[in-house]
């Protein structure tokens, strides 16, 4: 069993069998993470570079922990204190790092397709840790994995993704991943933050949060990405209005006829898309998502590393 791709740049090209293979290995790594010695030596002769051209805390830490717990050597790079500031191009930066005998690259970049660009031009195995508004495949995988863990399976479940769908790489990866596993997906948010042709992906569109919540088994609340909304005309009048229309509150949960699972990929803007009460409440699996992130990333790196032949 191996993945149908050499790199993990997106969920879109993966098959259902690929995703299930990653999940089955993540199960084993969850067991590893729960024992006294949380480390295996499988990748001890592999060097991984974490290239973060964009800010990150959770994803970067999660990848670094996953790499270290597989026994890999890790080098970290962040654009804020590098030669990128001096005008070096992306391919030059990456080639310089690769010439130091690096085998795998985990990359986050603000340009959609940046990881694919590197994958096509270097020999390294590339893992996308978020490329602009395109995809964030490991987040999509860990979200679906967390749903599987909580509800037993993903197939047949109804998942609503609420918020800034236009600027969200998490949203797109979630849509692909959940659909491949047989879930029904709905997106919900203000008209301005829902891409015009999103229905072509086979998702339902709803602009009323109450109706969306009543429909779903799982609500994945996305963050409003103010840093990507750099237009002179705002996408919605005010955060307060957004929160009133699309914020998940305990009252909205209480009004439902059933219990739903609440997710959030982080970082949370408490009081905007979700209240503290809900984020820390019994429906929330937000911290489980973070825990599962390490296991999923270990699984992905473990499987992808087998595409590197040992010299």
């Amino acid at each position: 069993m191996k993945l149908s791709t050499r790199h993990l740049n997106a969920i879109e090209p993966l098959t259902k069998a690929d995703i299930e293979l990653i999940f089955s290995q993540a199960d084993q790594f969850k067991e590893v993470l729960n024992r006294p010695i949380k480390k295996v030596p499988s990748l001890r002769d592999v060097t991984i570079a974490n290239l973060f051209f964009e800010n990150s805390t959770r994803t970067r830490l999660s990848f670094e922990l996953a790499e270290k717990r597989l026994g890999a050597d890790v080098v970290n790079f962040s654009a804020s204190n590098s030669s990128v500031k001096k005008g070096e191009t992306l391919i030059d930066t990456v080639n310089n790092i690769l010439s130091m005998k690096v085998d795998m690259v985990v990359m986050r970049h603000s340009a959609p397709g940046a990881c694919d660009f590197i994958a096509q031009r270097t020999n390294a195995v590339v893992v996308n840790a978020g490329d602009g508004t395109h995809e964030h495949p490991t987040q999509g995988l860990l979200d679906a994995y967390s749903i599987r863990e909580k509800l037993g399976q993903v197939k047949g479940k109804r998942v609503v993704i609420v918020g800034d769908i236009t600027h969200s790489r998490v949203g797109l990866s979630n849509i692909y991943c959940l659909q491949k596993l047989g879930a029904e997906v709905m997106v919900c948010g203000p008209t301005t933050l829902i891409p015009k042709y999103i229905h072509e992906l086979g998702v339902q569109v709803e602009h009323n949060l109450e109706k969306a919540l009543e429909w779903c088994d799982v609500a994945n609340m996305l963050r409003i990405q103010l840093e990507r909304q750099d237009t002179s005309v705002p996408y919605f009048p005010s955060l307060r209005e957004y929160s009133a229309m699309f914020g998940l509150t305990q009252d909205r949960l209480n009004a439902l006829s059933k219990d739903i699972v609440v997710m959030h990929p982080g970082p949370i803007n408490r009081g905007v898309e979700i209240t503290s009460e809900v984020a820390d409440g019994s429906n929330s699996i937000i911290l489980n998502q973070v825990e599962n992130g390490v296991a999923i990333r270990m699984a992905a790196l473990f499987i992808l590393s087998q595409g590197l032949t040992r010299k």
């Binding site: 089955s24 084993q28 006294p36 087998q306 032949t309």
Partner: protein, 179 residues
């Protein structure tokens, strides 16, 4: 062309398993501090059989499974990618007498990886090895079994495979393949 013959029939295999169980009882007495561990993937079938046989003999024994995949020395060398299976140990193995169980002992490399995996869970008092088939001539590292069902002389192009009812075979038996 692959030539295939039955090496050990179901009857003989049952007798071998009973003998192995009696040897275990002789050495472990009441099994209070003992743990049987099947090595994933194929050692688990033998482990299940032995646990059931001991049970029939009136002996209760704790048992678990260990997966050696993450500790293998051929990771990223084989054409065929490795896929890890589950590990489960019923309790802390510190100070326990562990019997590692696998179906066929050949190069000894899987056993080494299995032992390394096991040691990550604690410090057992000792580890013994029980195998159904010992392919004597194939050893690449110094690993020997404490309990052996049958020793088999074989060449590199030959294979010995134990087929289990629990994985879909008609009955438990051992075959010999010449490729």
């Amino acid at each position: 062309m692959t030539k295939q013959v039955t090496l050990i029939s179901n009857n003989l295999l049952n007798m071998m398993i009973q003998r192995l169980c009696k040897q275990l009882i002789e050495n472990h007495k009441d099994f209070t501090n003992s743990l049987l561990v099947g090595l994933q993937p194929r050692g688990t079938f033998l482990c299940e059989r032995i646990v059931a046989e001991l049970h029939a003999m009136g002996v209760q024994v704790k048992h678990g499974v260990v997966d050696p995949t993450f500790y293998r020395d051929d990771f990223r060398i084989h054409e065929k990618p490795l896929v890890a299976k589950s590990t489960y140990l019923p309790e802390n193995i510190d100070g326990m007498r562990v019997v590692l169980i696998d179906d066929v002992l050949y190069t000894g490399r899987t056993i080494r990886a299995g032992m390394e995996s096991l040691m990550e869970y604690g410090r057992p008092k000792n580890i013994e090895l029980l195998v159904l088939i010992d392919r004597k001539k194939g050893r690449e590292i110094p690993v020997e079994a404490n309990y052996v069902g049958k020793e088999v002389e074989s060449l590199k192009n030959e294979r010995v495979k134990v087929l289990w009812k629990n994985e879909g075979a008609k009955e438990d038996h051992v075959i010999f393949l010449n490729e």
